[in-house]
Amino acid sequence: MTNPDPQPGSPDKEPATEAQAAQTALGNTERAETATTPKQPGDGGRPSLGRLFLDNLWAANTFTVTLLSLVLAMIVGAVLIIVSDPDVLATYSYITARPSDAINSSWTLVSEAYANLFKGAVFDPEAFSGWLNGSNGWEAVLAPISETLTYTAPLVFTGLSVALAFRGGLFNIGAQGQATIGVILAALAGFLLPLPPGLHLLVAVLAGALGGAIWGFIPGILKAKAGAHEVINTIMLNYIATYFLTWLIVQNGIQDPNRTDAISRPVDASAQLPRLLGDNLRVHAGILLAVLATWAVAWLLNRSTLGFELRAVGANPDAARTAGISVTRTYVLIMVFAGILAGLGGSNMVLGSTASALTPLVVAQIGFDGILVALLGRVKPWGVALAALLFGALQAGGNRMQSYSGISLELVTVLQALIVIFIAAPALVKAIFQLRAARAARLQTSLAKGW
């Protein structure tokens, strides 16, 4: 921390085309190193914690680091699996007498659990051999991938939402609330509007985007006009959105007339996203929209005048203002775009195959997971897509792990959290130390400057 830490210059050229993108995303390791340029000493900048954190995240979060974090998280997860199983734990009481018992049973438990995680998320050899000898259909082979992609789609949207705001210098904690309002408007459009197929779906998806846009606009305009901090406002709006949803579901005309519990009428079939691989597999067109959105955000950030403004405002609002960019307008636009993305993520939750009606938990945690996804994906569009894929796979595999190995689904949440902690913690620690050093330096320079 005393020596000038390398700081990413982050010229941050996003890949121009989709094809390049996949290549670059995999080549993160090399890129991060080349992008690292020595920090200019005494440049008088005033780094915020968020800025430093981001810089360090970019510097630290290479592909290898991500992989190592994954491995570390799984090791910690293995310990948790062992500790939570009473039978295996019992073998540890006589570990000095017969260590093989403890080791064997632990190994069996953990390896089976992780094997199920893999089988549920990527590929199940048994289903494959079953398909070869005709005991089950091809759907069973593709089922894990289908599940993974189903969970991935909404996370891509919320991840992009958080990442886009981050690039513009705003911390959008409100993806959850924006997704919630998005899910409400999408569902309302889905079961209240009698529209022809095709148009109905389009309207429902756009309604979701609109809902998110509204919920993003509010903190955006408050930030721009009143200087209200977006973190606080988005958190508050999350609560409002959640309880509004809870209230709305049980209202007349919204609640399913055949049910007494809190569930709304189902979305019409004409407003549901079409399934891609037949009715037996849950993967739906949302994943295609997600890829499209990723491309659009990448284009917006790097190939558009708006993205130029956004990045300039995010990196140095003073210089942006001096160059004639309206910082307040940009803040509002950033939050609206972030809201649109989160709202689209919300639409996925009710127009896709995970649910077709509003319930209090219909959005799950996609907004908060989106923050993790954005950080894991180094707040770059294609990185976010890959991070969402990883989280989707963990979610899908976790379901199988729960039903086959009896390991609680919450372990997956723990794993996700651990991965992010392992990646983010070094960056965070470094950021805090650097900030402290910077602060001390600033104190001294401000003392030294004088008139």
Binding site: S10, G45, N316, G324, A448, W451
Partner: protein, 508 residues
Amino acid sequence: MEPGEIHALLGENGAGKSTLMNVLYGLYQPDEGEILVDGRPLKLKGPSDAIAAGIGMVHQHFMLVPVFTVAENIMLGAEQVRGGIAGLLDRRRARREVAEVSERYNLRVDPDAVIEDLPVGIQQRVEIVKALTRDVDLLILDEPTAVLTPQETEELLAVMRSLKAAGKSIVFITHKLGEVKAIADRITVIRRGRTVGTASPEASRDELAALMVGRSVRLTVDKTPAKPGRPVLEVAGLVVDDDRQVRAVDGVDLTVHAGEVLGVAGVQGNGQTELIEAIMGLRPLLAGTVTLDGQPVHGWSTKKVLRAGVGYVPEDRSVDGLVKEFSVAENLVLDIYDQPPFGAGLALKPDEIARSAKERIEQFDVRTSSAEAPVGTLSGGNQQKVIVARELSRPLKLFIAAQPTRGVDVGSIEFIHSRVVRERDIGTAVMVVSSELDEVIGLADRIAVMYRGRIIGVVGPDTPREEIGLLMAGITPDATGASGTPGGAPAPDGAAPAPEVPGSEDKA
């Protein structure tokens, strides 16, 4: 330093006054040389060592906790505790100490007042009391009058006299001649990190001013006489506040003609920054008009002003001029990214941006590894060239450059100056604001001197530098006799207590 002496340290911005004092206070470690106290060399590892050696310092920016009371602030860092380890803060004792010190040196402060409710002058007094409760013999006051009104300055000078009478020594850092002459026993002038002279307070203002602003190296700019044309920029009756809502520009009238360079000289913080920001639409104006080619432009957005043909080099390039994380190419289009050929509708044209960047880098001799290198990796001079290149690569009516060569190497200075003159010669109206007097004299065809938010005089470039130096210190030739009032900055207009150095704390 002698006991009971007031020693003034005089120098321009960035001359090294504050740095020297920070070394004395232990905040910085000297690279070479040593400090002698009572004839013994002193090793300071930090401010606590300095306090132990009897050195106290009142910083330019007060080190007070705004929500604490005076007594709490004074005991901060030396908390007195009653009743053992888990004890209570001994507020009563702190209050008593404050009262004692106040009494002894005639420094009235209310120990129970909350800092944020107090005016700046009293806050400063609290700082002084804080230093005195630590039993210091040598008190360093770093630009103490910078934030004070003339009345508060008067009171401070009185306090300093009573401290002197009590046998305390004071180092008084300033760049204001009037105060120095009023109170100092001895004056040391520092320029560019060196002592350039020691003077007694009897020395004339002219001598002091010459010592302060004089330069051993004089840069000359080759140029032909100006051929001024129509007035391009006209500013009338402009009034602007700074960030602290203190009047910074107080009725400025200016005209810049096509084909001439108007130099604005003045000590940093006399409203130059705010004047330009108001012209550029970055700061709201409270009164007055700004017209460009006869068209009123006040109230326009910055973008609109830039589009109207105004080029602007901001005074702080790392804060306002460049996005350091962006590449050189991106910074070269920072204010024209959405104009053809670089942007069409919503789309950027990266190829055009790269092509034009190559040209500019060539034309303006920007030394960079590539157009894609982050601009933060460039040297200061080359960063500045990027800004100049950006602003001069479109047709301009008016070119405003603030501190265009601050922190820039000599080679780049010459290059930038020649570009400024070339811009003038093609008929652009040019306004150069600089606190480097040589730069202004070298470049300008007319020199306007700003002092306390006003244009105190407009002179030709052949005016002797001493005369300009006096103007910068607020002394107009006809008022020289009258302004010798002891104590405090002479305020020829008396009525307008414009602050000496508004809003320039971190920009200097």
